[in-house]
């Protein structure tokens, strides 16, 4: 009887613990890697969410068509958050708990990412290259947080540095939207003027939904600004810039972050954004100005999704490309540790869109912090400089 009990207990224990020991790494089997992405497919940021998720999907499908990574196919599960935090939490817990994903990739939105970090990191799911350029995406340092490119703060600091050093700007002002994003841009501007021993002459705020910016422009003009840093996105970049030029305020430059570096801003009707500056992270996907590899990517994207890729698609592609590289470097024995080591071993990576050189390290989880200056010329973004630092 005792022996029977002992045997049974051993079997039961073996079965119970087997689930813990037998399964090596969450989301990884001998022939599959499950990755998750929560993004906005039907809310206000859907233009970026749809295109970036398409691009991620396409990059992984192409990897799969070539036999996968070390024989494993990548399965990507995309969940819609509608740019709402509660939905993001629901979507994220589904990916983490039910789909048991190996890693989260290119998740969109600062508050959505922040809301999921705790559960995600407790479950040991790394957060790869979110579509958010807030500092909280890689600071404070966490072993599972990886970002690809310069944050808004980095971009704005590099831009101001350039304008002050190269163009002799002195009266720096900021016009930013009253959101977490706008605040990041303001913080960046403040940090850089402090570093340059200057002062922010004037700041104005607005709501993302505002239509009229006359008051802000009048205030900035009255303060005698010669460089206005814009914490704005699409419409709130176009309208105030056009308003300033219309009232004949020409001895001033406007500098946006990468959020303003968008196809629509350059293509604004009537060419009202001619001469607007913004910091860019990669080339804008205009087919004729891209390199051959990017051109071929452009065609494949258009063929598959029946639409031209936008800058969101570029970010999605780069995110998936670096993730694939990390998976490759992790070697055939893919675990969380080997993957983190794989990502941290990436040096001098160059994407196909002329982005800055990307380097990771065991204490460096931000791939690059430089961005280049671009200007609207003839309805298109034209790159002016090499990647700038500060």
């Amino acid at each position: 009887m005792t022996r029977f009990l002992a045997v049974t207990t051993t079997i039961v224990l073996a079965v119970l613990t087997g689930t813990a020991f037998g399964e090596e790494t969450r989301g990884v089997t001998s022939n599959e890697i499950v990755l998750g992405m929560h993004t906005d497919l039907s809310g206000p940021a859907a233009t970026y969410g749809v295109s970036s998720s398409n691009a991620v999907k396409m990059r992984f499908d192409e990897a799969n068509a070539n036999g996968g990574i070390h024989g494993r196919k990548i399965k990507l599960i995309v969940e819609d958050t509608q740019y709402q935090v509660p939905r993001a939490v629901q979507a994220g817990t589904k990916l983490i708990n039910r789909d048991r994903i190996f890693a989260m990739i290119a998740a969109l939105g600062t508050p959505m990412n922040n809301a999921l970090f705790k559960d995600q990191f407790e479950a040991g799911v790394p957060n790869l290259f979110p579509l958010s350029a807030a500092r909280s995406m890689y600071l404070p340092f966490h072993r599972l947080k990886f970002v690809g490119a310069a944050t808004y703060v980095d971009q704005v600091r590099a831009g101001i540095n350039y304008f002050v050093a190269q163009k002799g700007k002195k009266a720096i002002c900021a016009m930013y939207q009253d959101t977490d994003f706008g605040k990041e841009v303001l913080d960046g501007a403040q940090m850089q003027v402090d570093a340059l021993k200057l002062k922010l002459v004037e700041t104005t705020t607005h709501k993302p939904t505002d239509q009229d910016f006359t008051a802000q422009i009048t205030k900035l003009k009255g303060a005698g600004c010669d460089l206005v840093v814009l914490g704005t996105i699409v419409r709130d970049s176009i309208v105030p810039y056009a308003a300033a030029r219309k009232i004949g305020w020409t001895d001033v430059d406007f500098l946006g972050s990468a959020a303003a570096y968008d196809l629509f801003v350059a293509a604004a009707q009537g060419g009202v954004t001619e001469g607007l500056y913004a910091m860019g992270l990669t080339d804008m996907p205009y087919r004729d100005t891209l390199g051959p590899a990017a051109q071929s990517w452009f065609d494949r994207y258009k063929e598959r999704f029946k639409a031209e890729p936008n800058i969101g698609a570029v970010y999605g592609y780069v995110a998936a490309d670096v993730a694939a590289l990390g998976l490759d470097r992790a070697g055939p024995n893919l675990t969380l540790d080997s993957f983190i080591n794989g990502l941290e071993s990436i040096r001098s990576y160059h994407d196909i869109f002329n982005g800055p050189e990307v380097n990771y390290g065991s204490d460096k989880h931000q791939g690059a912090n430089s961005s280049f200056l671009a200007v609207v010329k003839g309805g298109r973004w034209t790159r002016l400089t090499e990647p700038l630092s500060f």
């Binding site: 497919l41 039907s42 859907a46 969410g49 749809v50 998720s53 599960i77 995309v78 969940e79 819609d80 509608q82 709402q84 935090v85 509660p86 939905r87 939490v89 629901q90 979507a91 817990t93 589904k94 708990n97 039910r98 789909d99 508050p111 922040n114 809301a115 999921l116 970090f117 705790k118 559960d119 909280s136 009253d178 959101t179 977490d180 706008g182 605040k183």
Partner: protein
Amino acid sequence: MRFIFKTSYHQDLGLFQDRQERNWYLALALGLLLTPFVLPAYLGDLSLMLIFGLCGVSLMVLVGYTGLVSLGHAAFLGIGAYTHVYFSQDLALPWVASVMLAAAVTAIAGALVGLPVLRLSGLYLAIATLAFALIIQEIFSRWDSVTGGIKGKAVERAVIFGYAIHEVTFYFLCLGFLLAVLWFTRNLLRAPAGRALIAIRDSELAAQSMGVNLTFYKTFAFAYSAAIMGFAGALFAHEVGFLAPDIFTALLSIQFLLMVVVGGLGSLHGAVFGAMFTALLPVVISSVRDSLPDWLGWAFGFFGTDASSAISAAVDRIVKQPGLEPGILGLMLVLFILFEPRGIYGRWLKIRLYFSQFPLYQRPTFTQKKSYMKSERFR
């Protein structure tokens, strides 16, 4: 058909009609107690459902029982969430005290809103509460020292009497709160206060002539509703784990309102059904979306592997179309409002009656017979 034979007045006082009903609820309670062990992967969604249930009860008291509409309940949820996090994290108060204080603060906010809006009703009330919600949202994003401003604030896990709450315990915590609030509200609604609220809903004039103090009871309804929202907010803060002003938007308020309408106005069951609908439908849609292509591929495997994989790929493309999910959700809402204005609970009552009266069921049993007093017709 079943007749309840009443033999004592105590039967009228009981929470349940008869033993059978009580047993059904006991079975339900048992099911809810076992759920976390049966469906561990769905715990997060179930907790959210229970929290939405609290929001539903809160709004049901106001909309379904008092007849006052509110498009500002997301703001009360926010006040509850922020005050709880402020008290428990910044001031390091014990969890229970912090939740109680959060509910109290929210109730005061509710009473304050209740006062000026007493003169308003219908559309004007909706606009006033919407404006209130926008103001509160603005305060959330400006009052940096308390709310963390637009950058938001991370919420730590709850620790109650030194016991750290994790997923399973959090589910039971939410369940406990919902059951307590349901029990209390159910009792309240059959007490004089609840009867007064229902009287106000049916006819303010008649209620007033019967001696119901409109000012007091309308304010009370707002405060009570807000207090429940305060509890919900405190739990919601832990569920979401991160508070930012753009969580508590007008969209969320509208979602709450739709929730009680879909569930069925004028019943506590409706509040819970509505919460199940709102919190679980996305879960159902996303799991069907993930597995439908494989199922169909398997079903069509009969026609050969090529046909099977072609069908699976085609279906995959359709169901992964962006925006499909809100589309389905919206469609279901429209269908509900068109074909079942009494909501899920109304439909359930009809189905139940249909079977219990089987060949004798008559449709007109449920036709609405509300007659207006002349003075209230255009309100």
